[in-house]
């Protein structure tokens, strides 16, 4: 069973077609990159995967659950992190993790929080209000929150945006470790192409709501006759999906 199966997914806002009849799947244990320029439809797609947004057409099946009929069963087994949404600033890190631990019904919650605190170097920060943390610390807390329920599927929107290279590498290593240990599926929307090359088994290139190309990063680099994904991204953004 795939972690995500998307069939003919479409989202239309009045005259605007934000996502245009896309289909893809993400097998368990794999990492899929969702790439594209601003307005390509990545956030809309992720929102539909999370059940935050109702599709105009098409189906989304997550971990065997149809998101139109049974989204809460799927939501309990998945999680999401984005620098564009925050945790309550006045609650401490521990209080925030406790809230989300309860929301996801995490057993032995104190032990789980201690594990995550150790894994993400948060032990000294547990009593600090989330709003007083640096950008890097906040991102570590957000990732800890997104792993609180040991999700089978993790969705990440720009997981390392605005992080220094050291913290960014720390986060990518943590994601690689989590994927290996739990055989979890990860979907990443990112503009960081070296990150995509390092983490992703496959990528979907989106433009104007459509998937214009897809495949493993090394295949795309080879097909477009380029040296890296940054160049492939620029080719597709400027010239469309026209491999060399």
């Amino acid at each position: 069973m795939d972690a995500i199966t998307v069939r003919n997914l479409t989202k239309r806002y009045a005259a605007t077609l934000a996502v245009d009849d896309i289909s893809f799947s993400l097998p368990r244990g794999q990492v899929l990159g969702l790439l594209g320029g601003n307005g390509a439809g990545k956030t809309t797609t992720i929102s539909m995967l999370l059940g935050l947004l109702v599709p105009s057409a098409g189906t989304v099946t997550v971990l065997g659950h149809d998101m139109a009929k049974d989204r809460f069963a799927a939501l309990a087994k998945m999680n999401f992190s984005s620098p564009y949404i925050s945790l309550p600033a006045r609650l401490s890190v521990q209080e925030n993790l406790t809230v989300y631990g309860h929301l996801y019904g995490v057993p032995r919650l104190k032990r789980r929080i201690a594990e995550l605190a150790e894994q993400f170097n948060l032990t000294a920060l547990l009593k600090r209000p989330a709003g007083e943390l640096s950008a890097g610390q906040k991102t570590r807390v957000a990732l800890a929150k997104s792993l609180i329920n040991e999700p089978d599927l993790l969705l990440l929107d720009e997981p390392t945006a605005s992080l220094d290279p050291d913290t960014g590498d720390f986060m990518r290593t943590a994601l690689e470790r989590y994927r290996a240990e739990k055989h979890a599926a990860i979907l990443i929307a990112s503009h960081n192409m070296p990150e995509v090359e390092r983490l992703c088994d496959n990528v979907l290139m989106m433009k104007a709501g459509k998937i214009v190309d897809s495949g493993p990063p090394e295949d795309l680099i080879s097909r477009y006759g380029r040296d890296n994904m940054e160049q492939v991204f620029l080719d597709i953004a400027r010239n469309g999906a026209t491999p060399a």
Binding site: K11, Y13, T43, T44, S47, L50, G51, L52, L53, V54, F72, L75, A76, N79, F80, S82, Y84, I85, S86, L87, P88, A89, R90, Y100, L103, Y104, G105, K145
Partner: protein, 262 residues
């Protein structure tokens, strides 16, 4: 210099131009105060109430109406806390169901209302010798009904937040106060102009406060008014729940949950 001043004026006018709740708020409080105290003055001038009874009716009215106001504001502020902290996205992608969210907001409002009203209740007794518990067991009925009234107003406000986003935030602070003139907190329904009386009769509060005045002035239990008020609350609560659910569904369809949560 005039151009810079105009720039700042424009900054505020541009905001008001796009948000009718903000515009409404400008004339809101003076109009409300005039209506409430105008009707109260009319009532008092026509009644021959002793100073003790009049004082008790006003103070108990203030305290009990605060139950509805705090009940409503506690729910909407707890919801807005998630909007202000940009946490809604996390909440709505968790397994928390909308009904569970509503129940948690209502539970928080009970705690906040009791904590909020405790000092005022003590002060009413210490400074004005008015003990609200003298109303007897009926007080519990008044409290529950007014709390429920605050809840269905709050569900309507949250539904408007789903519909209009944070631009409707001002409604959280103003909408229940806006109902005050026709809630008949300090005067009976008959003090209102005839054309306004049906609106007042449709609100549970007008019946609850009629019950309060009956308990206070005649020591009678006004069963018909209290029953009617309770039935109205049930109807309004169902309506509030349906409006909330409909606007939540519409917000998921429009993508409003994403923009509210970010």
């Amino acid at each position: 210099m005039p151009r810079r001043i105009w720039a700042m004026l424009y900054r505020h006018f541009a905001l008001y131009r796009r948000s009718w709740p903000r515009l409404l708020e400008i004339a809101y409080w003076p109009t409300l105060n005039l209506l409430i105290w105008g009707f109260t003055a009319t009532y008092i001038s026509h009644m021959r109430l002793g100073p003790v009874s009049a004082s008790a009716a006003l103070i108990f009215g203030v305290l009990l109406w605060e139950v509805a106001l705090r009940g409503q504001m506690s729910v909407t502020i707890s919801f807005l806390e998630e909007v202000w902290s940009r946490n809604l996205g996390h909440i709505f992608i968790s397994p928390l169901r909308p009904t569970e969210l509503v129940i948690s907001l209502l539970a928080v409002s009970i705690v906040r209302t009791i904590i909020g009203l405790l000092p005022a209740t003590i002060i009413a007794y210490a400074l004005y010798q008015q003990n609200i518990f003298a109303l007897g067991p009926a007080l519990l009925l008044f409290f529950v009904n007014l709390m429920v009234m605050g809840w269905w107003i709050a569900l309507g406000v949250v539904a408007l937040l789903f519909r209009y986003g944070a631009g409707a935030e001002a409604l959280a602070w103003t909408i229940a106060f806006g109902i005050t003139p026709i809630a008949c907190v300090y005067y009976p329904v008959t003090s209102l102009p005839l054309w306004l009386q049906p609106a007042a009769q449709a609100l549970p509060a007008s019946h609850i406060f009629a019950g309060m005045r009956a308990a206070l002035f005649t020591h009678a239990f006004d069963a018909p008014d209290l029953l009617y008020g309770t039935l109205l609350n049930v109807i309004w609560m169902i309506a509030g729940g349906l409006v909330f659910a409909a606007q939540f569904r519409a917000a998921r369809s429009r993508g409003a949950l994403i923009s509210m949560g970010e």
